[in-house]
Amino acid sequence: MKKFICINCPLGCHLEVDDSDPNDIKVSGNTCPRGKIYAINEITAPKRMVTSSVPVSRSDLLRVSVKTSQPIPKDKIFDCLNEIKKAHAEAPVAIGDVIVSNVCGTGIDVVATRNAHKI
């Protein structure tokens, strides 16, 4: 039995998930169907967006903020951050520019979330 707090609304239902049978995952404690979907995702394939910032040269900004273009598997968060820590950008940078491609072999890129103009 695993426990989660549902994040879909302020109610914050305390969900209990029984995954002893992977083909029939049982969720209790949810008030609505969104709670069940959330719990099943959390137990089978939890994913998170990762946001951080990297140093940028030749800009009036010191750093440019970045994000994964899609949520990545939760257990890859710190590996992803380690790759981001090694990265460096050079101005000009536009929102959406790829800063790290295929981060940790996930097939997902780390992209800029801020414009950095060249000086």
């Binding site: 994040i7 008030t31 946001t51 951080s52 750093r63």
Partner: protein
């Protein structure tokens, strides 16, 4: 003295939305005054995602959300001045600002929109005893150091307050290699979003201690070396027998936001002791004719989407005032009762010819299974059932034209909670 139609004080999300909306409504002689070197305000340091779900139907980071509105300003050629700090606003609508390029300048405006945002409550605002040492930061200051300047404020961290900025910073400091030892919350509940408690604390096994506070800060060689925390009783007084010491080099404070209303005060704008923002009517006009207020300077919002929405409305109304002058003569006051802590706007024009009015409010405590009702002179004219309402989530009620027409006949509008059970 330079003259212009509208001066917008502050180039954050509220100011940008207000300026764009005023321009779209046909008043194009606008100047935005921003004290920082960039537009976008606090969003620039809020690099996490979750912004814009309502406005853009996608999850953006803070800088991306700001950029959407900055582009709207650039496309329209709306004038903005950076590094320009407004130091005075008068009731006759003269704005005084200083900048490195221009020195001291004054602008005479037909309307002013105050969008100055808010400040974090500092240590002095909650009187924490103990050492005056290095290593004590507001959560937002730490956020700026990490995200904008690339500097780490410390290695072992305790966070006081579980508002969203504190929660976000718990994760951010963890991402950058710090050890967050605890988040300590005075109240028995968090004012932050569930989602942030789960994804910023639970994901990294950071303990959240409710009904606890910091009672002492200890230091070695001028740097924080530990904090002493203790449980509080139901009157929020520390129970010293529960005190425990946590070794750390950094204390972050996320203990509330205070609307920045010094300028409004100089102009003689009436302020609400509940919201710490101006008292406004349904067009977001303050008690001083032609001075408008919106966004976090008016009342603290939890979602920037609502800041944009409110500010777009204020911008449109300011443009309308510039073009048509003052229309209101009489008002119907609004109020919150039975658990509704405040309602903005605080009054509605009787002669307002508008299609809809948004009432924004916060409750004082968490309640389950409530009916949020609007009463006009005691008669229920609107109601909505809510499974839960909490102080951390702003509630909005939109009254359509039919109800707006009825309000004009009334003398008092009340927003109240019916049939609720305290959580």
């Amino acid at each position: 003295m330079r003259k212009c139609d509208i001066v917008v004080v502050g180039g954050g999300p509220a100011g940008l939305a207000a300026a764009v909306s005023a321009f779209e409504a046909g008043t194009k002689d606008i100047v935005i005054l921003e004290r920082e070197e960039r537009l976008g305000g606090i969003l620039n340091q809020c690099i996490h995602n979750g912004f814009g779900l309502h406005t853009f139907k996608e999850e953006l980071t803070g800088p991306e959300y700001a950029d959407r509105f900055e582009q709207l300003v650039y496309q329209r050629g709306i004038e903005y001045k950076l590094g320009s700090t407004v130091i005075n606003v008068t009731a006759d609508k003269t704005v005084t600002y200083v900048s490195e390029q221009e020195g001291l300048q004054k602008i005479s405006a037909k309307a002013i929109i105050l969008t100055c945002g808010c400040r974090e409550r500092p240590r002095g605002g909650i009187n924490i005893a103990g050492a005056r040492a290095a290593g004590i930061f507001s959560a937002g200051t730490a956020q700026k150091l990490v995200n904008i300047d690339g500097l780490m404020p410390g290695k072992e961290v305790v966070i006081l307050g579980s508002g969203d900025i504190g929660l976000i910073m718990a994760r951010r400091m963890t991402f950058e290699g710090a050890k967050v030892k605890a988040v300590v919350e005075l109240m028995p509940y968090s004012s932050g979003l569930n989602r942030n408690i789960v994804q910023c604390l639970n994901d990294f096994d950071i303990p959240l201690m409710f009904s606890h506070t910091v009672v002492d800060i200890k230091a070695t060689n001028g740097r924080v070396s530990s904090v002493v925390i203790a449980q509080v009783d139901d009157k929020l007084q520390p129970i010293m027998s529960t005190a425990q010491e946590i070794a750390c080099d950094t204390l972050l404070l996320s203990v509330g936001l205070l609307p920045e209303n010094e300028l409004a005060g100089y102009a003689g704008v009436e302020l609400s002791p509940v919201t710490n923002g101006a008292v406004v009517d349904d067009q977001m006009m303050t008690s001083v004719e032609g001075i408008f207020e919106c966004g976090n300077v008016l009342h603290v919002h939890d979602l920037v989407d609502y800041v944009s929405e409110e500010s777009s409305h204020a911008g449109k109304c300011a443009a309308n005032y510039v073009q048509n002058g003052m229309s209101a003569t009489q008002y119907v006051p609004t109020c919150g009762t039975n658990g509704v802590r405040y309602v903005v706007p605080q009054k509605i024009r009787k002669d307002a010819n508008v299609e809809k009015i948004s009432l924004r409010m916060r409750v004082a405590n968490a309640f389950k299974n409530v009916e949020l009702a609007v009463l006009l002179d005691g008669e229920k004219i609107f109601s909505r059932k809510r499974p839960i309402v909490t102080p951390g989530e702003m509630e909005t009620v939109v009254l359509g034209s039919e109800l707006v027409a009825r309000i004009k006949q009334g003398s008092k509008l009340e927003v109240t909670l019916l049939k609720g059970e305290e959580k």
